[in-house]
Subunit: 281 residues, 2 copies
Amino acid sequence: MALERLSQAKCFGGTQATYQHSSAETGTAMRFAVFTPPQAEAGPVPVLWFLSGLTCTEENFTVKAGAQRVAAELGLMLIAPDTSPRGDGVPDDAQKAYDFGLGAGFYVDATEAPWAQHYRMRSYLETELPALVAAELPADMTRQAISGHSMGGHGALTLALRNPARFRSVSAFAPIVSPLNCPWGEKALTGYLGPDRAAWGAYDACALIEDGARLPDILIDQGTADSFLTTQLKPELLEAACATAGQPLTLRRQEGYDHSFFFIASFIADHLAWHGARLRG
Amino acid sequence: MALERLSQAKCFGGTQATYQHSSAETGTAMRFAVFTPPQAEAGPVPVLWFLSGLTCTEENFTVKAGAQRVAAELGLMLIAPDTSPRGDGVPDDAQKAYDFGLGAGFYVDATEAPWAQHYRMRSYLETELPALVAAELPADMTRQAISGHSMGGHGALTLALRNPARFRSVSAFAPIVSPLNCPWGEKALTGYLGPDRAAWGAYDACALIEDGARLPDILIDQGTADSFLTTQLKPELLEAACATAGQPLTLRRQEGYDHSFFFIASFIADHLAWHGARLRG
């Protein structure tokens, strides 16, 4: 089997596991966490991908979001990938900053040295990992949804906008909606893709929508007490892009919530219900 | 104010906070986490104390158990203390073992050098911290319940058995039920209390019940796939002690669950409902 199981625990009647495999895209061992609901005993189940934010691994969403309870009720598989390649030979930010390099892959295929060799999270998530999941796990790949938080919300939005046929639904918590227009994005995309901003558009949800990408709808929760709200996240940019393009968007501003997993945990059940309704049948 | 607030986040309509204060009992700065449900805006709310297991701090239960959702529904304050004193001058196990010293206070008042000066978790939790909570937080101290996991399950059971008038209800996840009869307990109590096992009885749930301590009832969940089940936890000892003494006990063996927080998360709602029913009115 191409997957090595590193851990496994029963959880809400299903199974929470961590797997490791050798990735051809990143050239490293990659880890991801999977919750398999009890319904998988009867046959393949729909899949919700959850992409995490800066500094996270496959573990953060898995242990902090409390998503397994509702996933077990709805019969959803939850897959939480890592946020970057890791290991010997994988370069990191020169100052070990939290917002570039390890833990900060930004879900792109890097084109600049020295990042291009390993930082291929786009292809890893668009091609390699779904093929592995389809081959090895009881997943119904005709029923996929995607969500994410912060940098992972950016990842979820851009993956879905580039691959609308793959995902039946998309949501995000406090996403970076336009890396072209915030310091995190400008640093990361300059580093991974180089200074030509024309190459960045495939990794910017607002730019993708402006260029014609469409989804049936989008759900976003954003806390009003999020310390990154006005400097990095700027949901009003996505609101404007969607309004101009006629792209349906449900953007909920949640009064007093911050950027933490306490915010995600408070609303994850709403997101799972949203995805569950669109993954049925 | 005697409490310094280190962090605060909105969570399920309530507030999750971490506090620090100077403890006279331990002679150190002590931290604890508090979830205050939205109902506290209208007046004091009942309190559920949750004592954590070996290696934990106030953070583990707070971020991993998913307890805030139901606590917000039931109007329960959740208080998660740390598991030992920490900081400069606090001695640790000579080999830095996980099962003694830092992160492993075993909820005792140590009598042996060099532990006796700082390792006073019994008095901290029986006297000092409740007084501080009563003075500083919107807690209805006439309605208290207690729960815990593993070493913290031992702490919850023994605190409740020694103080039946304080707690309306007690539950535990995979508790150490008899430190007198397991390697973890023998190591810890020898270290903190010395070799005279007569001094250990106040810290052994089975011995307390054999000596006449009684509670209205006790709820325990124990996973059957728990790797510590037969060597350290031994729920059959508590079952036998309760049967002999006529102490009501609801012991649920949960098929296939291990010792992790995935187990706790799977059943925390049941425990909160149990406590909520007994804390009403």
